[in-house]
Symmetry: C2
Subunit: 138 residues, 2 copies
């Protein structure tokens, strides 16, 4: 569990000023035992519970997008009314539980290697994401 000082260094190295708000968001996101998936409103709730300070929703959005650009977070492609983010930035895939509206990691050892044979002239591959939608077995 990194200390506040480590987040300050991390932020400075990324040319992001270490503000109270950004440090708090780092704590909420990166002090967890395990990586996790969240929406902005999930995160806002987590901050409320965890914090003695209030962070404006605009700041939460700005910070999350700044972190995403710096590679601290990944955005996950699903069709949902809300955007999902992931503190697990390793190369991996996802299950999406349609019932719980919840993402579950599908690590690379959970599926055969993905090998894209087709290519698009003049274009390079930026990412390959597998989304496995699941629902209750009934």
């Amino acid at each position: 569990m990194p200390s506040s000082i480590e987040y300050i260094e991390k932020l400075r190295k990324s040319n992001l000023r270490p503000t109270k708000q950004r440090i708090k968001i780092c704590e909420v996101l990166f002090n967890a035992d395990k990586t996790f998936h969240f929406t902005i409103s999930d995160l806002a709730k987590m901050i409320e519970v965890n914090a003695n300070q209030k962070i404006s929703l605009a700041t939460v959005y700005n910070t999350i997008h700044a972190f995403e650009k710096k590679g601290y977070l990944k955005e996950i492609a699903i069709n949902s009314s809300q955007t999902y983010f992931d503190t697990n930035t390793s190369n991996h895939h996802h299950f999406f539980d349609e019932k719980e509206k919840e993402l579950i990691d599908l690590e690379n050892d959970g599926l055969d290697p993905i090998n894209i044979k087709k290519n698009i002239p003049g274009k390079i591959i930026k990412s390959v994401e597998v989304l496995v939608k699941v629902d209750v077995d009934k």
Copy 2:
């Protein structure tokens, strides 16, 4: 290129009343030589160009969702401000051109078979979608 009468039958078989609007939307979607990907606003423009009638946006939404439920269309998972649909309902995957905001089919023969080895207890797999994001090679 199916005739209007065939769409009427198709709609009736699906318990959808064959209205002028639904038939027109069938024509725009299913008379094309090739399958294609579209957003609701794409489709609304196509109808405007193609049609001698105006279809309310609410009706376009209703119809597309009705068609999707009946399996005439697929919805595609990407992070975008707009939802994408596909008239190609076969099992296949996609490239997403970040620059053009355009989907390109990646048929099953364009990649090695996807084999999900992990499973989620109590849940069954509803779909497996691969999304390959591409951008200009520069």
